[in-house]
């Protein structure tokens, strides 16, 4: 009996455990297994195997039961998920349904989640920009949050490392505010996007329209073929899962790579309830998981743990991992765990039309989506009455239009013979929000979910800085669009709640001082250094970049550190 028990514990003991298989968890798994560590990846959702579990990927529009629309009863049962742009008939099976995973909104917050192997990496918008030194220096310069314990120079080699493997397309634009990376050719701007770029050079030389940088294989390299991925085919049906592996996801890239190493054990359908802490040893020893179907609990053990549950769920897990030593959540000596969460302000757009360049259109589809304007406000010094700034997505397109006022044979004629419509342009704001103690997540004191986890209670809201910044965005783009000759300019405030940006960050922030932060510069919990947090929860501030690339680089950099610490036997005690 005793031997059996020892064998069972041995079978449940690994060199490393990764909690979560999304964007950053996939990277942690890949890096750990590359370094030969026997790694367990625990995923709360079901398995989604590349090219096997993409049920809609090759469907034509007419093959969908409802032409792509979400049936009304599903819509009404899922008001939160329905607000997400990928919640359509082709990809709604990858989005968490409202009733299955409830949470508490102390203030309105649309929490969009993807519970499956690969997480939201299947669904992301694939935009990838490096942070610059000006982004990392933000909190210290402007006096909010706490200073980042790392800077651009710490991250640059790791950005390169993940970019080469993931495959990033983009141009070397030479902009201080948006460092260049390891790029495959960028997807070109179209005629009107390019027109706006040239106009801005004349009217606002410090503002740049560049090709959006994205995780698509525009010119695959041997490392991508080795992953079984080939050139992006411009389908722009990415959210279904890509049969070509044309864009980066955990499913197409890091997870199968890690599995191929023979060092990875992947266990889907296991919710991690808590991280186990050994008071004698002074370190975390493993995790307790509950099977989502059988509800049986199991413990797994490893000398080092990576928490990549997805920003807010990482907060939930640490808050729920209590012990005599950590009554308020693992590593939470400072009391900041769950606080200083933030997001990106995506609630503003400006639409317009362009009467020029009528002799031009586009052919095929652009997976990058179009252009990107790096932040131009307060980059090098404070210039406005609000802190920080916004990056902007910018796209132009020409649709097909046809009058539909005919009847019978005439109507058919109209539908069958469309005309090219006007050029339509749109700019989308991606604003930095300031982390504050008053924006927080915490455990609901009484309510629990089906698996015994306390419900996460979320309290996040916009503030005056966000209001001022949005006003500036509207003014600046109305001006710039006017000067570019665009017409019918229409600023639009979506009034959307925080969360729909799907860029929730922080709560387990990095910092130099254990009294005011949770993680050190290597992503280790200050008070429990064999636990690394390398997902969005680690973010000290949000800046304006799409964050996934930074999480990938965090994970790779932290694994490198963890493995060298393991070799030095430094993770054994505090």
């Amino acid at each position: 009996m005793a031997n059996l028990n020892i064998d069972s514990i041995k079978a449940r003991t690994f060199d490393a455990i990764v909690i979560g298989s999304g964007m950053s968890g996939g990277w942690a798994a890949k890096e750990l297994t590359d370094k030969g560590l026997k790694t367990l990846v625990v995923e709360r959702g079901r398995d989604v195997k590349h090219n096997i579990d993409y049920p809609t990927t090759n469907l034509n529009p007419w093959e969908f039961p409802h032409g792509g629309k979400v049936p009304q009863d599903i819509k009404e049962a899922n008001p939160i998920a329905s607000r997400c742009y990928v919640f359509k008939e082709d990809a709604m099976h990858f989005v968490v349904k409202d009733a299955e995973h409830p949470y508490v909104q102390e203030k309105p917050f649309d929490w969009i989640r993807g519970y499956q192997v690969g997480g939201k990496s299947l669904l992301w918008a694939r935009q990838t920009q490096r942070w610059s030194k000006y982004d990392f220096e933000g909190p210290a310069r402007d006096g909010f949050a706490v200073p980042w314990p790392i800077g651009y120079d710490d991250m640059a080699p790791w950005y390169s490392h993940v970019e080469k493997f993931a495959g990033i397309s983009g141009n070397r634009d030479g902009l201080p505010a948006l460092p260049d990376g390891e790029f495959m050719p960028g997807f070109p701007l179209n005629a009107v996007e390019d027109h706006f770029r040239k106009q801005l050079q004349k009217t606002h030389p410090d503002r740049h329209v560049i090709s959006a940088r994205c995780a698509h294989l525009s010119k695959p390299q041997p490392i991508h073929y080795e992953q079984g991925r080939v050139q992006c085919q411009n389908r722009t049906l990415c959210q279904r899962g890509c049969p070509f592996g044309g864009y980066f996801s955990s499913n197409s890239s890091t997870i199968p790579w890690a599995l191929k190493s023979g060092h990875l054990t992947l266990t889907p359908n296991q919710v991690v309830q808590s991280i186990l802490y050994d008071e004698q040893k002074g370190r975390a020893t493993g995790i307790r998981v509950i099977d989502t179907h059988t509800k049986t609990t199991t413990e797994y053990y490893a000398p080092v743990l990576f928490v990549n549950a997805g920003a807010l769920n990482t907060n939930l897990l640490l808050l729920n991992s209590t012990s005599g030593r950590f009554p308020n959540g693992l590593g939470n000596d400072s009391g900041v765990l769950g606080k200083y969460v933030a997001f990106h302000n995506y609630s503003a757009r400006v639409f317009a039309e362009y009467e020029g360049l009528k002799d031009m259109t586009t052919d095929g589809r652009n997976p990058a989506g179009g252009g990107y304007l790096p932040r131009f406000r307060n980059v090098f010094k404070q210039e406005t009455d609000f802190l920080r700034g916004y990056a902007t997505s910018f796209g132009a397109s020409r649709g097909l239009v046809q009058p539909t006022d005919g009847f019978g044979a005439d109507l058919k004629q109209q539908l069958e013979h469309p005309a090219l419509g006007p050029w339509r342009v749109s700019a989308g704001m991606m604003g930095e929000t300031i982390p504050k103690a008053t924006n927080y997540v915490r455990l609901d004191p009484t309510r629990k979910d089906e698996w015994g986890m306390p419900l996460l209670s979320i309290s996040m809201a916009y503030d005056d800085n966000d209001v001022k910044m949005k006003q500036d965005f509207f003014e600046q783009f109305t001006d710039m669009f006017t000067q570019a000759g665009f017409t019918n300019i229409r600023p639009q405030d979506s009034h959307q709640a925080p969360g729909l940006d799907i860029h929730e960050m922080g709560g387990v922030r990095m910092g130099l001082d254990p009294k005011t932060s949770m993680l050190n510069k290597w992503h280790q919990l200050h008070a429990c250094p064999n636990v690394y947090v390398t997902d969005g929860a680690a973010m000290t501030s949000t800046s304006t970049q799409n964050p996934s690339l930074t999480y990938m680089a965090f994970a790779a950099r932290a694994v490198d550190h963890a493995v060298s610490e393991l070799k030095k036997q430094n993770l054994k005690t505090t």
């Binding site: 409802h66 032409g67 979400v70 389908r235 049906l237 097909l400 058919k412 539908l415």
Partner: protein
């Protein structure tokens, strides 16, 4: 005088019979359910038939397939039943219920008994003089028309033969001269309706 009264009476009886006759015949159809298993909407086989004729009037068979050939009425039914808010379903059904009465008032006979030209003229009148019709009839017509158009432009036929959908474009050109676009050619490479 008497003769004229008699004639009017006979006419009234005839008209009444004309009103009653299809009504009597459709009794069985009204009792029958629609051919598609509907979850939310209660539609009779008779109403389904009428809806099919409205769709066919909007998208008729010409040298190319029409609504019935492409099963558009079934598409409209499914979208009505699955993807339409309850309030709009109610209005749609109310309008469908009143549609034949409106047709008789305008055409002097049922929609189904009318010629294709008469049917088209009626729909056109609803479109252009909505105030002359009950609100629900106009709402029904507008919704059915939009669904029929969606069904047509989203059909396999349309997306493979008319404005061709490309699942795998494999290219992007941001500076494509309009002079090279041949919209008469279904394979013109321009964005699809959906």
């Amino acid at each position: 005088m008497i003769n004229r009264r008699l004639a009017v009476r006979h006419l009234t009886i005839l008209a009444g019979a004309a009103v009653l006759l299809p009504g009597c015949l459709s009794q069985t159809q009204e009792e029958q359910k629609a051919s598609y298993p509907l979850r939310h909407v209660a539609m009779s086989a008779g109403q389904e038939k009428l809806l099919a004729e409205v769709c066919e009037t909007l998208i008729p068979k010409t040298t190319t397939p029409g609504a019935k050939d492409l099963s558009l009425p079934l598409y409209v039914l499914k979208m009505l039943d699955d993807c339409t808010p309850a309030k709009d379903q109610k209005t749609f059904m109310a309008g469908l219920g009143q549609f034949d009465a409106a047709a008789k008032k305008q055409l002097g006979q049922s929609f189904e008994a009318s010629t294709a030209a008469q049917r088209a003229a009626l729909l056109q009148r609803i479109d252009q003089q909505p105030k002359a019709f009950p609100e629900e009839v106009v709402a029904f017509y507008r919704a059915a028309r939009q669904l029929a158009i969606d069904g047509y432009t989203g059909s396999k036929y349309f997306m493979t033969k008319q404005v061709v959908y490309e699942l795998i474009p494999g290219r992007y050109d941001g500076y494509f001269p309009v002079s090279k676009v041949d919209l008469a050619n279904p394979h013109h490479g321009q964005p699809q309706y959906r």
